[in-house]
């Protein structure tokens, strides 16, 4: 994801964005296209700077004759939220290649599912963007108004034909500052001379970046010294720490019952890239830096049952009475979690060459989270625990993580994943 530093003309591919979105204006900044992913466009919206009292009359300029009830509620909601100056609008736009019927059901269900999973993660304390609002808007451009679009005004016939397929689903999310873990790892791997990426970084001096990338004496990757021309992934304390934190984060999300479905290093943000907190002394090796990772893009996420014990206390939902999932349910979850981890593993290995050690560290972090849960369970609830007998010498959560890891082993070996046929 690009940083807002790159202020350029919003250029987008695909159908024109909904008129409501384009016409949304705060002070003088129009929506800025952050990135165009595979299935959605991510817009950055600057919110009007209003005091709480002004919130009702948010600065929205609406063309004549178009009613946008949802937009008003969105702006109201967003502008009264304190501390939010920018928001991300993830617009799932209609895909021309898909059958309209398929397109509309996919678009709507995915937006809803994403919002649900994000909220679930929030409740469980997994760092992810806040959900601010949801809206379904038509992409049709009427009245030949200010929108600069090619397919702007169609005659009545064609509009009626494409009417059903022309809906964008918009999800308003909190804006996360920082860079992706993928970006971070590649930055570390690339020698400082190749500075093609640097411009993307928000206002960081080039020097700091170079220092960060040149931090190589610590590398413990044996392969790296052998072949200089190959691009390898830097493996040192810092990247290992990021990997470990990532593993623990994924474990927490899984424990909360959310399966991400698209775990890649591009979908994890690093709130505090180390070079930006660099201030004179090298903080890469003193251990004081802890990465603040945020999971993003829950576009393919699904939810299963939660196994977090704490959640039953914080949120008084139906989850409260199941502290230890039943055996068959657990197996089912293990499969989905293992596939999730497998996606992550392959994303890691295919995006970052020779990052096997990092992947192992991710698994270590994943395990350690569950082991931590076990320890909490033992220390907190030894006195009043009723189903003590369910906990053997090996903790219940270690049992979960073992079954997930065993299943991961099976998923790795499964069929053609290993070697293809035909």
């Amino acid at each position: 994801m690009l940083s807002p530093a790159e202020e350029s003309e919003p250029t987008w591919f695909g159908p024109p964005p909904p008129a409501e979105l384009l016409r949304y204006e705060s002070s003088d900044v129009s929506p800025h296209l952050l990135s165009q992913g595979a299935e959605a466009r991510v817009w950055l919206l600057h919110l009007p700077k209003t005091s709480d009292s002004d919130a009702g009359k948010a600065t929205v300029s609406v063309g004549s004759g178009i009613s946008v009830p949802k937009l008003n509620s969105v702006t109201q909601l967003l502008s009264i939220s304190p501390g939010i100056h920018t928001t991300i609008c993830k617009e799932r736009f209609p895909k021309k290649y898909r059958h309209p019927q398929l397109d509309i059901s996919l678009t709507k269900s995915r937006t809803k599912a994403e919002a649900r999973c994000l909220i679930r993660c929030q409740r469980a304390g997994v760092p992810c963007p806040n959900v601010l609002a949801i809206a379904h808007w038509s992409n049709e451009q009427k009245h030949g108004d200010s929108c600069n679009t090619s397919g702007r005004l169609m005659n009545d016939k064609s509009i009626s034909l494409t009417e059903t397929s022309n809906t964008s689903s918009c999800l308003f999310l909190e804006y996360i500052h920082g860079c992706t873990v993928r970006h971070y790892l590649e930055e570390r791997s690339n020698p400082p001379s190749t500075d093609s990426h640097k411009s993307k970084h928000s206002g960081e001096p080039e020097v700091k970046r170079a220092r960060c990338g040149a931090d190589e004496p610590e590398t413990i990757d044996p392969n790296q010294s052998q072949e200089q021309e190959r691009i390898t992934t830097v493996i040192d304390k810092q990247t290992l720490l990021v990997a470990r934190t990532l593993g623990a984060l994924v474990a927490k999300m899984h424990a909360a019952g959310v399966i991400h479905g698209d775990l890649t290093t591009s979908n994890v943000m690093l709130r505090n890239p180390p070079s930006s907190s660099y201030n004179g002394s090298s903080n890469n090796d003193d251990g004081s830096w802890t990465p603040q990772l945020v999971l993003i893009d829950f576009g393919l996420a699904t939810s299963t049952s939660s196994i977090l014990p704490n959640e039953s206390k914080t949120s008084s939902t139906a989850l409260s009475n199941k502290q230890k999932p039943k055996q068959h349910k657990q197996q089912h979850n293990a499969e989905e979690k293992a596939v999730d981890l497998y996606v992550l593993e392959r994303a890691f290995l295919s995006t970052h060459p020779e990052s096997e050690l990092l992947v192992e560290e991710v698994w270590r972090g994943y395990r350690s989270f569950y082991e931590g849960l076990d320890n909490d369970y033992h220390t907190n609830e030894t006195n009043l625990d009723k189903d003590r007998n369910e906990l053997n010498t090996i903790g219940a959560y270690s049992h979960v993580v073992n079954s997930v890891m065993n299943r991961l082993e099976q998923v790795r070996l499964r069929g053609r994943k290993r070697e293809c046929f035909g």
């Binding site: 595979a38 898909r98 479905g261 035909g422």
Partner: protein
């Protein structure tokens, strides 16, 4: 025929500079005209094909001199079985080699203007013309090492080994998937595309990175072509010329005036991966439902026909494929897409990809059936790269190391002819 195809220039595909042949002279030498000519033999599935490919150093172009192919068509309701397919390949491979050489090195006396069928008979029955000297005209024999069905693979590998021993030529062992990709790159002049490889046995989304073709997404169970073939079998569509083509024809009955019914089918995309087996079971169950009309028109909205199912199946599975391709494009920051493999010549898939790619401001590189479907020229194309750039793993010295591999992943081959850097998507 393929002889009339224009030569494909080497420069647009941004390979490494071609090393001088002397470096690998122990393996091959250019022929008496200074050209490098490779004969490729393909037979990993139900097609057996032989292609002759020529590299001309003066124009720096690759040209397909000939590319005959023969397909084993199984009876309706039946897939191709390894044993019968092997027999088919064994029966035809010699004649195909003969036909390929006849076409590549035509005798001056041979009539060029025969109709296809006559020419086919003519070429198959005759020996290569008397001035053709294999050892002098050819530089190497390339064959499919894998992946594929064991019997057919071995049948063609035996033919390749025999020719290599007989004509004292080096052997080049080629990965089938790599061959598809390289043929596509050369034929469409695509330098660094995201590759959607869809065939009866494989469904992969591939992008080049650091010396390997890395698989970003693939099917987690059966291949897309397998899904189509098995559906065609269930509803009794013919296997001639191919079940997938007959499904395509049925689905083409959909027009704006007479739209076909879209039946909801499971849509399974997991990250960058897809799954088809559940969808296949679902659609097989649909053909047993009381609303399924095998013949004749539908009477109410509930009912659906074979054409409806074919249309819905294509729409659904192709949308899944286009989606994972788009994901890979977004992930790698690439803008061009190359579609290869037997399913890749489906017009509807190409149209959907075109819509997606043009929305992203990129280009789609697609080919017609001559190069999309398994053929000998693509084996020769990947083989000639391996030979010219001296790939250690592909160039085998003798017949040792030519044991076929039924399982052989795309990312197991080191691509020595492309730059090591990660290219655009680093």
């Amino acid at each position: 025929m393929t002889f009339t195809d224009p030569p494909c220039p080497l420069s647009p595909i941004h390979n490494l500079p071609l090393p001088s042949p002397s470096r690998f002279s122990h393996l091959y030498r250019p022929n008496h005209q200074g050209k490098t000519v490779v004969l490729g033999i393909e037979g990993s599935a139900n097609k057996v094909g032989v292609g002759v490919l020529c590299y001309d150093p003066e124009t720096e172009t690759y040209q397909t001199l000939s590319n005959p192919r023969k397909t084993y068509v199984s009876p309706v309701g039946c897939g191709f079985l390894p044993k019968e397919t092997s027999w088919h390949h064994q029966a035809h491979v010699v004649a195909l080699v003969r036909a390929a050489l006849n076409e590549a090195y035509p005798d001056d006396d041979s009539p060029q203007s025969l109709s296809y069928n006559n020419a086919y008979e003519h070429r198959f029955k005759r020996s290569p013309h008397p001035h053709f000297l294999p050892n002098r005209h050819l530089s190497a024999i390339a064959f499919t090492l894998g992946p594929g069905m064991g019997g057919p693979l071995r049948s063609c590998a035996i033919a390749a080994r025999t020719l290599a021993l007989l004509w004292k030529l080096p052997l080049v062992a080629v990965n089938h998937c790599i061959a598809h990709i390289e043929m596509g790159r050369v034929a469409t002049s695509a330098a660094d595309p995201v590759v959607l490889y869809v065939s009866g046995g494989n469904t992969q989304v591939i992008a080049y990175s650091d010396g390997r073709y890395r698989i970003f997404g693939e099917t987690i169970d059966i291949a897309v072509g397998n899904c189509l073939d098995r559906f065609a079998r269930v509803v009794g569509l013919s296997n001639d010329p191919s079940p997938g083509y007959n499904i395509e024809l049925e689905a083409r009955k959909h027009t704006n005036d007479t739209p076909l019914k879209f039946v909801d089918l499971p849509y399974v995309v997991k990250g960058m991966d897809v799954s088809f087996s559940g969808l296949l079971t679902f659609i097989e169950e649909l053909t047993k439902s009381k609303h399924f009309v095998r013949d004749g028109p539908t009477e109410n909205d509930e009912q659906f026909t074979i054409a409806d199912l074919c249309y819905s199946l294509q729409e659904t599975i192709f949308a899944m494929l286009v989606e994972i391709t788009e994901r890979t494009m977004a992930h790698c920051g690439q803008s061009s897409v190359l579609v290869v493999g037997g399913v890749g010549c489906n017009k509807r898939l190409q149209d959907m990809l075109e819509l997606m790619v043009s929305d992203r401001g990129g280009t789609l590189c697609a080919m017609d059936h001559r190069y999309c479907i398994d053929n000998g020229a693509m084996i020769a194309q990947a083989g000639i790269f391996g030979l010219q750039y001296g790939s250690e793993s592909m160039c085998v010295k003798g017949v040792e190391g030519t044991d076929c591999r039924q399982r052989f992943r795309t990312d197991q081959v080191e691509i020595v002819w492309r730059p090591k850097t990660r290219g655009k998507h680093s």
